[in-house]
Subunit: 191 residues, 4 copies
């Protein structure tokens, strides 16, 4: 969490960190480069964060919140479970396609050696409503009965890997392809 103010700078620093991690991995993330890319002096990074670790953890937290927002959105509430789920899935898939760096950052973070357990828990709490939604779907007989964590893992694992393929250029996702992906997701979990 930033010590002081100037949200513009905080944003620029976050953006720089995320992009650099995506390009070179956590091992390649250098404070000097973050500084340069975000247009501040190295010392300034330490005005906002007490260490590289703190910076990375903050980026994680903020990004996770953003991701939660891409899934959990009042506009996505529809008549049926299916329709709501579909809106959420497309929300998430679209987010990942648009911001694959953020998706990658978050994914790699957990195995980066920079984890703060407290932050993980804090970040996870943003997804509470999603859990509730899925549990309701199970009660209504819409989707398979099993640990909600597994369902979420199955769903986002699939999304992530597909988006990664797309980013790497190994595939080229068309409108159609996306729908088939959704069908795989839905067919997998529906009863």
């Amino acid at each position: 969490m930033p010590k002081l103010k100037d949200q513009n700078k905080v944003n620029a620093i976050h953006r720089a960190a995320i992009e650099l991690v995506t390009k070179t991995g956590f091992s390649g993330l250098k404070m000097a480069e973050v500084a340069k890319k975000s247009g501040v002096a190295t010392g300034t990074l330490y005005v906002y964060y007490k260490s590289k670790e703190a910076l990375i953890n903050d980026v994680y937290l903020v990004t996770k919140e953003e991701i939660a927002g891409a899934i959990i959105n009042p506009e996505y509430l529809k008549e049926t479970f299916y329709e709501t789920f579909k809106a959420m899935w497309y929300g998430y898939f679209g987010y990942c396609l648009q911001y694959p760096e953020k998706m990658l950052f978050v994914e790699q973070f957990i195995y980066s050696g920079y984890i703060s357990e407290i932050n993980i828990a804090k970040a996870d709490s943003n997804f509470e409503p999603l859990d509730q939604f899925l549990i309701q779907g199970q009660k209504n007989g819409d989707i398979k009965e099993m640990d909600v964590e597994i369902i979420k893992a199955h769903l986002h694992g699939s999304v992530h890997e597909i988006v990664k393929m797309n980013v790497r250029g190994d595939i080229r996702l068309e409108e159609d392809g996306m729908h088939t992906c959704f069908n795989m997701a839905w067919d997998g979990i529906k009863t």
Copy 2:
């Protein structure tokens, strides 16, 4: 690839590297620690590999081959597509459950900043037969029509995330749970 011989040492070095990467990520992998954990001197690492990058790439290649072997196995060939697929899926899932460090190593490698493109291609070539198998399934109308890469991404993304949950202790997979996971996978891709 190792410069010289003594397969025992090579194995010990691989094991150490994999375990350490899982614990601290690539950013945290230190040659000194690899040496200590594998019971050799730092200098010795450079007898076997010309650099950290070379070591990591070799571990990647060897592990990818091992993984391919866990999926593509003559014993898994059955009467029907479904049965063969099932055997393969369980083969992979079982491998990941048993060696999550290897699964994680391989997964993170691509975004580690240590990639050698040549190695990636070489590693991927091991999975050719799997592609053929899936394409045949599509021709036969067993599974959905779409880019095979996407199907693979969908499947292994799901497996990885579920295994990671299990490793972290967020869920506890029983015999039953595994079957439901398989059903999610199969229901997702079947026609």
Copy 3:
């Protein structure tokens, strides 16, 4: 020397610098901490002093003057050399007991790497009358014949070390102990 005015702030800055030096040494003295402890902004320190060195030198000079005043005091002039000396010694000892931070600051200053030779000489000039007094004592046969600088070194070295013990809590000085200390001092220099 302060650039401008507001004696309250100057005093607060001095106090802060002295206390911090006592706690962490000159190597640990940070302008940011001086600012915080004295209740001003870092920038303000540079309104009053052109550099850290200038600040430290000013504190040194002012404190040395204060110390001279604790020793050289018209009220201390008595009938005999012994009585005057005794009054001075108690004056100095009492001062050091009351302001050990100032004593320590001054003591460490010389080896701090922040010395300005001019300031040292200026500070020393305050002690001229003490030199005269001691020389007179030698002429009268009250105290041993030897370089006055040595006598002063002997006396204040003793006082400082005893006070430091007391500050550290290694000893607990009572009224009695102080008298014995004085006797050590006097017996050492008397003829």
Copy 4:
């Protein structure tokens, strides 16, 4: 304490650190300079010590032991308390004259901000025999009755300040001067 070996290097590092501290104070001690002066690479310093603080603490400990050896020496044991004390005093005074850097290092260390309490206690334990000797002298009525710590403080405070004067060139100690200094010391503590 050194991690590994090569006592030559350890000695060179110690010597460099002591000389540099004497010249520029603790604030001026730079690892790069210690490395250069002792003829090793900066990295090598960290092979021997885990931090600047550890290095400084080790120098302190070793130097304190050396100092204890300069005072507590079987050859100094004489017929009378007076004679033994005299030998010890000259031993210490001589040591300080010969190695003023070490004396200064030790003196400044305590207020350097680099103290490790454990080390202080460990270093002090070397002086146990001296305490015993002084206590015996009090029992025999040779010297004044008072806390031994105060006597030691009085004595070494005097020695240090006189030696410092000499080093600075403010005085020039002759054979004679030294004897007078001893007389001040002895007259001060004798009964």
